[in-house]
């Protein structure tokens, strides 16, 4: 699983504008990465 | 500066409203000693006529206009209180029965 988060915010906004993805996709991506990684990293507490 | 005794540690704990065991008092005495030594270094410096810095910005009293504004809603404030009744916070008696 690769992450979108090696892009700068400007690149992310460009991708949103070009409809390559939605804000919902970005949010899903964040949750997916946390699900996959945070068991070992331990950075996150609660989720909204 | 004299090293802290267990009694001194317990006195400080009382001021801080922290219950500590005898073992904890011993452990804290050692740890506070190490830090106290560190702090003794400051005595090396001549600070005659040096003003203490309590705030890095030249901040003066910041006031708002003396106009009454709505405070917090009491029910909202009570949300995190463990025990309450009729809008008052409940606590155990101040003097043990």
């Amino acid at each position: 699983m690769m992450s979108l988060f090696d892009k700068t915010s400007a690149q992310l906004q460009e991708a949103l504008k070009n409809k390559e993805m939605t804000i919902a996709d970005l949010t899903t991506e964040a949750y997916a990465r946390i699900d996959a990684l945070d068991g070992e990293i331990g950075a996150f507490f609660s989720f909204k | 500066m004299a090293k802290l005794s267990v009694e001194e540690v317990k006195h400080v704990a009382k001021l801080a409203r922290l219950a500590i065991t005898d073992e904890e008092a011993e452990k804290f005495a050692t740890q506070l000693d190490a830090i106290t030594d560190f702090a003794n270094e400051l005595q090396e410096l001549d600070t005659t006529n040096v003003e203490p810095t309590t705030h890095v910005l030249p901040v003066h009293n910041v006031f708002r206009e003396d106009i009454p504004v709505k405070g917090l809603d009491r029910d909202v404030v009570m949300k995190n209180v463990k025990e309450h009744q009729d809008g008052l916070v409940k606590v155990p008696p101040i003097i043990a029965q």
């Binding site: 699983m1 690769m2 992450s3 988060f5 090696d6 892009k7 700068t8 915010s9 400007a10 906004q13 949103l16 504008k17 939605t22 804000i23 970005l26 949010t27 899903t28 964040a30 990465r33 946390i34 990684l37 990293i41 331990g42 950075a43 996150f44 507490f45 609660s46 909204k48 | 540690v9 400080v12 801080a16 409203r17 922290l18 219950a19 804290f28 506070l32 190490a34 560190f38 702090a39 270094e41 400051l42 005595q43 600070t47 040096v50 003003e51 203490p52 705030h55 890095v56 910005l57 909202v76 404030v77 949300k79 995190n80 209180v81 155990p92 008696p93 101040i94 003097i95 043990a96 029965q97």
Partner: protein
């Protein structure tokens, strides 16, 4: 998720540069409706009834708060090992600490879980974990960002700041959260400039000072080598570099621990089980206080409260707290003198790269020594950033750039110019390749 979907409906013309992007918020910043614990048992289950000013500003900028991130309990610690909830592991090496107290904030960005987090810095708590995790962390000038809603540790030292993977994003986030706030009387009534507009890429003629005290004994050879190489890069980019002295540097740690502990002992006296948080069983009020605090606070927090209470007790006030505040003035004056002639001060952010988890836990002095390069900055109140500048034994090394009061723009310009000329910020730990 409904929130994210709703944001998708907002027309592009109405969206700012951070609109819709995910962010993690350090758990000592209150978020209405989301449990806020400061990584302490004493606040387990605490549901704030208001949000911090910075959280409101994130909302206005359209960011999506994904969750709260881990930290050392009440922001006291340098390894995120003092969390009462769980440990944080450095994404570059799971056996190593991410740094602290904003360990969760730095690790989350470093691992690519979210591109932005907010941390807080009292003695290095943004910069040190940023250095250990290879990301960009900025502690703004004291008063630049509102502390309303930041659970106070040391009121004259605390600041909230952004953590990101690149400088421009860091500048954008600081622009979004900075500004005077009527709820925080210590916030500065100074205009927030556009930091992004100052990223010209040009540092020709910039005057850089390197304090000899920052590259002395205690800094590992590996870290020193990377930092010296980074300084050479700044010269290549057109800056002039001179050695200077900040003669009172070595006294900063002692002054810091006395001031911060004293202020902390006062700030943490509000945790008494009465109005919020954990409440122990007790027959009388006195025992309620004693037991609630004994059971609710972790060891490091208790230690700092003890030291602070001791510093402030009658009989040692002049020798401890007042003396420390006078030494603080001397430290501040060291910076003022250098900044009369120089634009920025640079050096390593930390003396070593990330240490192994559990390595320092028994000796408070070793853990404290990790703060020596960062705490003078908090005492003086000046802004400072840590940016990735290399690796030592495959662990990230951070370069610290310190600026004049409210000159975050200059710091960002230098950091950005360095970033454009190097590739360290693009390095990723192996966690990015997870299947």
């Amino acid at each position: 998720m409904e929130e994210a979907a709703a944001k998708d409906q907002v027309p592009f013309e109405e969206r700012g540069p951070l609109f819709g992007l995910p962010i993690g918020v350090k758990d000592n910043i209150v978020t209405e409706g989301i449990e806020t614990t400061c990584a302490s048992k004493i606040l387990e289950g605490f549901n704030p009834i208001y949000s911090a000013t910075v959280v409101e500003k994130l909302r206005k900028a359209g960011m999506v708060t994904i969750g709260k991130v881990n930290m050392d309990e009440f922001a006291m610690g340098s390894a995120n090992e003092n969390s009462a909830i769980k440990k944080v592991h450095n994404p570059w090496d799971f056996d190593r600490a991410p740094g602290g107290s904003s360990g969760g904030s730095a690790a989350a960005v470093s691992a690519g879980e979210v591109p932005f987090t907010l941390g807080s810095d009292t003695g290095g708590s943004i910069r040190q974990p940023a250095a250990f995790c290879g990301v960009v962390g900025m502690k703004p000038t004291y008063g630049r960002v509102s502390r309303y809603g930041l659970v106070a540790f040391a009121s004259s030292l605390d600041q909230i700041g952004p953590i990101t993977r690149n400088v421009r994003d860091n500048a954008l986030l600081l622009e979004a959260i900075a500004g005077v706030d009527e709820h925080d009387s210590t916030s500065a009534n100074v205009e927030v400039p556009s930091y992004v507009d100052q990223l010209t890429g040009d540092i020709k003629g910039l005057k850089v000072a390197v304090p000899k005290e920052y590259l002395a004994e205690g800094v590992s050879e590996g870290v020193k080598a990377q930092v010296l190489a980074a300084i050479e890069k700044l010269k290549e980019l057109g800056a002039t570099v001179d050695e200077v002295s900040l003669p009172h540097s070595k006294y900063a740690l002692a002054a810091y621990y006395i001031i911060s502990s004293s202020e902390a002992s006062s700030n943490l006296s509000r945790f008494d089980g009465i109005r919020y948080g954990f409440r122990a069983e007790a027959d009388n009020l006195e025992d309620l206080y004693l037991q609630t605090r004994a059971q609710g606070f972790g060891d490091e927090v208790k230690r700092r409260i003890m030291l602070g209470t001791y510093s402030l007790s009658a009989g040692t006030y002049d020798a401890y707290y007042k003396k420390a505040q006078q030494v603080r003035t001397l430290i501040k004056q060291d910076f003022d003198k250098v900044f009369e002639e120089y634009d920025v001060i640079v050096g390593p952010t930390t003396p070593t790269t990330a240490f192994k988890l559990g390595e320092n836990l028994d000796d408070p002095m070793t853990v404290y020594a990790n703060d020596i390069l960062t705490v003078p900055i908090n005492l003086a109140g000046v802004p400072a950033i840590s940016i990735p500048c290399g690796f030592d034994n495959e662990m990230p090394v951070g370069l610290q750039i310190i600026g004049k009061y409210f000159e975050e723009g200059t710091i960002y310009r230098v950091a950005d110019a360095f970033e454009k000329a190097t590739d360290f910020h693009n390095a990723k730990p192996q966690t990015w390749e997870v299947k």
